[in-house]
Assembly symmetry: C2
Homo-oligomer: 318 residues x 2
């Protein structure tokens, strides 16, 4: 079975670990969000791709969900001693090596997809990890801080401000000019199932869908497209998805997110059991819906979620 997953960072990566356990024989292609990418200290940092790679490769800091295990911060301390920031982005020493290798390869002319493939030779994630695009896309957020309206990088909004102010708009800058990375459209076209994991519907899955051609390819693939709600009980399970949902005028409810994707794209949707009341609304919108436990408390629970998603896909197909 060929499964394509559109993944952001922590939520997507953890779901993928469950999916691998649930479907060990499946051929999984991950289309990773690169709208979170940022240049820091002259280095190209791809937080979502790295989180997937480290999580599936056994190098992730399990507690925080991003960055490397057994990490140290000596390079960062030295950069701060030079007065060079930002200090709010936690780049560890081991993590730095990834960005140094990536930046060196990009400077040598390799596209991000080739770089990602090369990095994955070490991590052996057990999936094919593709960036959504080799072209630069950078999610920017319009905010009002102390009466001043300004546009900042997503990471500044998410990590520095911790989404503490309202997002007035979320713009994946460059997405409209970006082309899907080599292999992306082919993977979608030959997929048996397409899955939206409980990643952020706006700045993760939404950014991937903003690359011209990807949404269309999914809609036209003719295979079940199923998703898992990142919203449980009207709040994001993790992260601050409600903040960016508000920016696109979508309520932070499991049903609203399903309808945001829409029945033109989405065939099936899993909501948590606490949101069982939303099933009828989602089905009313033309999307098959089931209520199952959606907390990724451990790999087994996550694998069960993935199994339910695949069951739902078969229901849709039938």
């Amino acid at each position: 079975m060929r499964i394509v997953v559109l993944a952001g960072g922590i939520g997507g990566a953890r779901f993928l670990r469950g999916l691998k356990q649930a479907a060990p024989e499946a051929d999984v292609t991950v289309i990773g969000n690169t709208g979170d990418d940022i240049h820091l200290f002259g280095l190209k940092v791809c937080p979502d791709l790295d989180t997937v790679m480290y999580t599936l490769g056994g190098g992730i800091n399990e507690e925080q969900g991003w960055g490397r295990t057994d990490e140290s911060f000596r390079v960062k301390e030295e950069l701060a001693a030079y007065g060079v920031g930002p200090e709010w982005f936690g780049l560890g020493d081991r993590d730095f090596a990834t960005h140094i290798v990536r930046t060196q390869m990009l400077a040598a002319g390799y596209p991000l997809s080739a770089v990602t493939e090369a990095l994955c030779v070490r991590w052996n994630p057990g999936v094919r990890l593709l960036p959504m695009s080799d072209d630069r896309v950078e999610t920017h957020v319009a905010v009002e801080v102390e009466g001043e309206r300004k546009v900042i990088h997503f990471q500044e909004y998410w990590v520095k401000l911790r989404a503490s102010v309202a997002a007035e708009a979320v713009v994946p800058v460059g997405a409209d000019q970006a082309k899907p990375a080599p292999g992306v459209l082919e993977a979608i076209a030959s997929a048996d199932v397409i899955v939206f994991p409980p990643s952020n519907p706006v700045v993760s899955v939404g950014t991937i869908l903003a690359v011209p051609g990807i949404r269309e390819a999914i809609a036209e693939a003719g295979v079940p497209v199923v998703g898992l709600s990142p919203i449980i009980g009207n709040a994001p399970v993790r992260g601050m998805a409600d903040k960016v949902l508000a920016a696109v005028g979508v309520e932070a409810t499991a049903a609203a997110v399903a309808q945001h994707y829409g029945s033109g794209l989405l065939d099936g949707w899993l909501v948590d059991t606490v949101d069982a009341g939303a099933v009828a609304e989602v089905e009313g919108a033309g999307i098959r819906c089931r209520a199952v436990p959606l907390l990724m408390t451990d790999v087994d629970a996550t694998a069960e979620m993935a199994r339910q998603a695949l069951v739902l896909a078969e229901e849709v197909r039938a």
Copy 2:
């Protein structure tokens, strides 16, 4: 008193520390060798400039004479885990930060001289540290390895091969097209004394002198030019200067090095007391010469060497 010093790495840096103690009120400008510079992992590494900066700024690893004190090697270990080398060049985590800042500033368009000045704001070395040139100069060495003649970067010869094979030629690639960095010729023209510390006469001082305009400016400055022999008892005190001296057809003796610089450039020369027999030969070549202890065993001994160099300069002037 304005003193200009042409410095390589370890020897030059240690001498400068002695000079600062010997002449605390002096206005010292260091013209640093950049022929050792190398791009590693996409980063611009300037070993000699950094050794001067760290040594005078209190950040040097005292035992090895280069690199940072209290260093760790986590980034390097990770790079090796990605299969990315070279592994033979010991870049530590704290050191990496310097190269990251430098590379970022260079990429932003600042010349190396401005970058060096910015880095020195942190280290406050107590001297004005100028790269010999803002243009790229890279010392290459022609060697024969296993019957094959090839040209390698100086660092590969020095650090990887540890000068274990004969150097057939030493070429400062790019030097003939390089321009002295801003401030270099001005510092020489307004100097009261010019000093060649016991740095490598070929790949350190020699490379600086290979930048068109610098040798001429020194010769025409009309002030005492004094040097200290890096060769004691027909062997380099440290390093492998004999290997590269052979490549330029110069014997590894204190007298031969003085004559290699030549009386057209050099006015005074200090040899070690064990080489007192060379004094007559050097003076016969038109260079005033004195035999004094030249082992930089500690800062006090080094300060005394610097003092003797300044005394010799005054003798020359009178």
